[in-house]
């Protein structure tokens, strides 16, 4: 029976969907059978980020409302045979979703997968609640800024009250140069304030936009520091003790990559 993990943040635009696609891909590269579920009903994006928009036939609401079987709605990723997308509906709104129905569908799906990653919408309303409800673990995504960390703290409180067990932190869009200049919160600051276990530190990577433009998941087609960081998240989820990458700017190799372009 698979692990059900919600990927959430409170604040929008911090990279939940990108992290979902790339952590999902990294777990799949480790040989795990993975499905990523777009829970952003009415504003679906995971299909576009993964370049699968033309292959979507059915969606999660079609399953819930009985128009198709689960297997008919799953879209296989283009390169990895053990990596699937369950798209959101674009026609419905978040208020149309019944939490019990989502719980039921996910509990069936998790029987056939090692990982079910639920890409939560921003906010703390119905959409977030129906994404969090089936999950027993959570990945909190923050960017190193005051508003993102503040919203994350709110979400962490809600998740703890709802009884979710393993809550881990991913810091996204980390800029080692700004951190070095003391113009950006560093990883220790954020971990200190939120008192969560850090499971991922993802450096800012221009390649993310470039690959999403083309409808490819960066972690599947490239080998950059961000990709390595995503792979490390997957390994840590699998229980491996992976040291955090040295992102300080003295390390010339990494620095030159950040400066490229």
């Amino acid at each position: 029976m698979g692990r059900v993990v919600v990927i959430t943040s409170g604040k929008g635009g911090v990279g939940k969907t990108t992290v979902t696609a790339n952590v999902g891909a990294s777990l799949a590269k480790l040989g795990k059978k993975v499905v990523v579920v777009d829970m952003d009903i009415g504003l679906r994006n995971l299909d576009v980020v993964m370049g699968l928009e033309n292959r979507v036939v059915y969606n999660i609401m079609d399953i819930i409302e009985g128009r198709c079987k689960i297997s008919q709605a799953l879209v296989r990723e283009k390169h990895l045979t053990n990596f699937f997308l369950l798209p959101a509906s674009q026609m419905h709104t978040k208020e149309d979703v019944k939490i019990e129905s989502v719980d039921e569908i996910i509990s069936i799906i998790k029987e056939s997968f090692d990982y079910v990653l639920l890409d939560s919408p921003a906010g703390i309303e119905n959409g977030f609640r129906s994404a969090a409800s089936p999950a027993s673990e959570a990945l909190i995504i923050v960017t190193p800024d005051v508003s993102s960390v503040r919203d994350a703290d709110r979400v962490i409180g809600l998740l703890e009250n709802s009884g979710i067990e393993g809550i881990s932190l991913i810091i996204n869009r980390y800029d080692p140069l700004l951190v070095h200049k003391k113009k950006m919160l560093d990883a220790n600051d954020i971990v200190d304030v939120l008192s969560l276990d850090l499971i991922g530190l993802i450096p800012e990577d221009k390649g993310v936009i470039d690959s999403e433009n083309r409808g490819e998941v960066l972690s599947i087609i490239a080998k950059t520091p961000a990709v390595q960081a995503f792979e490390n998240v997957a390994k840590r989820m699998e229980g491996e003790d992976v040291p955090f990458m040295k992102l300080d700017i003295e390390r010339k190799g990494l620095f030159s990559i950040f400066r490229r372009k």
Binding site: V146, V149, R150, G157, K181, K182, K183, D189
Partner: protein
Amino acid sequence: MGWFGRRDTKSVAKERLKLILVQDRALLSPSLLNNMREEIINVISKYLDIQQSDISIQIQRESHKTILEAIIPVKGVKR
């Protein structure tokens, strides 16, 4: 260093965050907290002689749990 005098902006950000989160994490409004405080003092005063001026009652979410902390100095037992 610019806008915030000599301090680096990341320290400013962290200080601001800490203050914001203390407020955000407060579960009760100040008036409700005050009501609870009054009632707690009333109940305890029935049994114990307490130092009213040094009482501290706080409710806060810390990592993974919420704690109600009441520090109430006791002068003696009521007979």
